[in-house]
Amino acid sequence: MTKKIITKKEVEYVAKLAKLEFSEEEKEEFTTQLNSILEYFYKLNELDTKDIPPTAYIISMPNLLNEDKVEPSLSREEVLSTNKYIRKGYFQVPKII
């Protein structure tokens, strides 16, 4: 981790990845906030973790597996009741350009 400042350009890239949009003001504010937070996180560099394995799973157990059995699906009404943008039984979304 380098003690670099996250630039506004990087904030824009991250926002694009996360599908969020911000006004110019908000971008400035975010850049400042994220920077102060990341600077605090820089603290982690004080630790030498070269030979430390990462903890991806805090629990260790034999696998819990499902039987290959079919059970009833949700009814179409239940599935389509979650929003109003339904057409002919499909969820409708605007075109993908």
Binding site: M61, N63, L65, N66, S73, R76, G89, Y90, Q92
Partner: protein, 482 residues
């Protein structure tokens, strides 16, 4: 300077378990009304969690073993994050740095040279399928898209090859064999048209004997084996042309357009994806112990290569025949069933590889849906052996059987194609032919035996092919001698 073609394939197969990968919805989604085959888990509803179907693991291990992979006793799931309407969780559960199987291979035979090539299998891993997007009108003009989640969560195995193919034909041969293997394993029905087997390719061209790889283009949207060969050939030619003109090949994704027979650049639609892979926290690392691997290996169904050997030996047919007959599991089953009912295995092989395959290909029907069953084919051959119909007649009967699905005996009865073997019936016609063709009689009497053939032909014409040819021949000879 001779160039070398370098192709690698990425194949996805839908695994034929009863239930989906992480939930209990049915995998039988084709033809169902949209959004009727889903549950909170495969819909990715807030709060839902995945639980792996044990059969998916078994099928994937089977596949990896059949491809001679080393099975990783610990493998793990990763999340591949991106936004698209057919991906309800906005991430796909897949495998990344620790896949289920690695370092395998498949041997293919190149029929022209008889050469055997070993194609490296880089990895086999499992992941879930996404839903389907339906566009109103064509993708360019529609104002909206429609989403059907029925296919979400269908289990997939992804098979990645090393860039070991040196021609589009090799790639096609590999795919045909891979399909046969997964069918024989019982893990996938290998239907490219229905999407249960999908293939993307990476294609590049480099100077012969070069060790480094040229710039590759990815080719997608090839929906049949033929399309794969055509698309790859087109792409190879396109790249060769670019290079010969001093141009560079651009690294991009290209889409095969079946209607125009070209690959089209998708670069304008493409954005370098940052998938932000990280280990899937909702699924613990997958443990596959040696005992389980050995048990699956012990119980592997007969693989096509082994079946081919067995056919060659047990049924005494040429390797070429055996290769074709084992190119699909159902075809092999068809043949074996027929052989259990009829002794002449070579004749069966001829009929299947000849007439049957011809009709199936013409009508674009798969062997699974053949209107003529193995039993019925055997029924036809028995009628020939018994002399009820001639070989020539049999072909007509076969066509009728194919069109109607009826048994041979039924068709023969209905259309009176029974061979005329009763001499008396024939005499009238023979006499008529003899009287109509005095020249031929003269030729014959002068020693030209071949003149009789013409007369036989005439009799056959009058009897509409119902007469048994050698019978006619004898009958004419006798009449003439009289």
């Amino acid at each position: 300077m001779k160039e070398e073609v370098v192709i690698g394939l990425e194949v996805h197969i839908q695994l034929m378990t009863k239930a989906k990968m992480f939930c209990h919805c049915s995998t039988d989604y084709i033809g169902k009304e949209p959004n009727t085959n889903t549950c909170p888990v495969c819909l990715g509803l807030p709060g839902s969690l995945p639980v792996l179907n044990k059969k998916v693991l078994e099928f994937a291990v089977r596949t990896a073993l059949a491809l001679n992979c080393k099975i990783n006793q610990i493998s793990r799931f990763h999340r591949k994050n991106y936004f698209y309407p057919d991906l309800p969780k906005a991430y796909q559960i897949s495998q990344y740095d620790l896949p289920l199987g690695v370092g395998g291979y498949m041997e293919i035979s190149l029929p022209e040279s008889g050469e055997k090539r070993r194609i490296g299998i880089t990895r086999v891993h499992i992941e879930e399928d996404a839903g389907k997007l339906v566009h109103e009108g064509d993708i360019a003009s529609s104002a909206y898209s429609l989403v059907d989640y029925n296919r979400c969560g269908i289990p997939l195995a992804e098979i990645v090859t090393e860039p070991d193919f040196r021609s589009p034909e090799e790639a096609r041969i590999f795919l045909v064999k891979l399909r046969s293997i997964v069918q024989h394993l019982g893990v996938c029905d290998g239907n490219m048209e229905e999407g249960s087997l999908r293939c993307d390719a990476n294609v590049s061209v480099r100077p012969a004997k070069s060790k480094s790889l040229g710039t590759k283009a990815e080719v997608k949207n090839m929906n049949s084996f033929r399309a794969v060969k055509k698309a790859l050939q087109f792409e190879v030619d396109r790249q060769k042309k670019l290079l010969s003109e001093g141009e560079k090949v651009i690294q991009e994704t290209r889409h095969w357009d079946e209607s125009k027979n070209i690959t089209v650049s998708m670069r304008s639609k493409e954005e370098a994806h940052d998938y932000r892979y990280f280990p899937e926290p909702d699924l613990l690392p997958l443990q596959v112990d040696l005992k389980m691997i050995e048990e699956i290996r012990r119980n592997l169904p007969e693989l096509p290569e082994v079946r081919k050997e067995r056919f060659t030996k047990d049924y005494q047919i040429p390797e070429y025949d055996a290769e074709i007959l084992t190119s699909s599991k159902v075809l092999g089953d068809y043949y074996e069933k027929a052989c259990s009912l009829y002794n002449n295995t070579k004749i069966l092989s001829n009929w299947i590889m000849g007439e049957l395959m011809r009709y199936l290909n013409e009508e674009k029907i798969e062997i699974e849906d053949s209107p003529i069953s193995s039993e019925n084919l055997v029924g036809l051959l028995i009628l020939i052996d018994e002399g009820v119909i001639s070989g020539k007649m049999a072909k007509i009967v076969f066509e009728k059987m194919f069109k109607t699905g009826k048994k041979a005996s039924q068709i023969v009865k209905e259309s009176e194609v029974i061979q005329i073997t009763d001499k008396n019936e024939l005499i009238e016609i023979v006499d008529r032919v003899i009287s109509e063709n005095p020249k031929s009689i003269e030729d014959f009497n002068q020693g030209k035996e071949k003149a009789l053939n013409y007369l036989v032909g005439q009799v056959m014409r009058y009897t509409k092919g119902k007469a048994k040819p050698d019978f006619v021949f004898e009958a004419i000879k006798q009449r003439i001698k009289r």
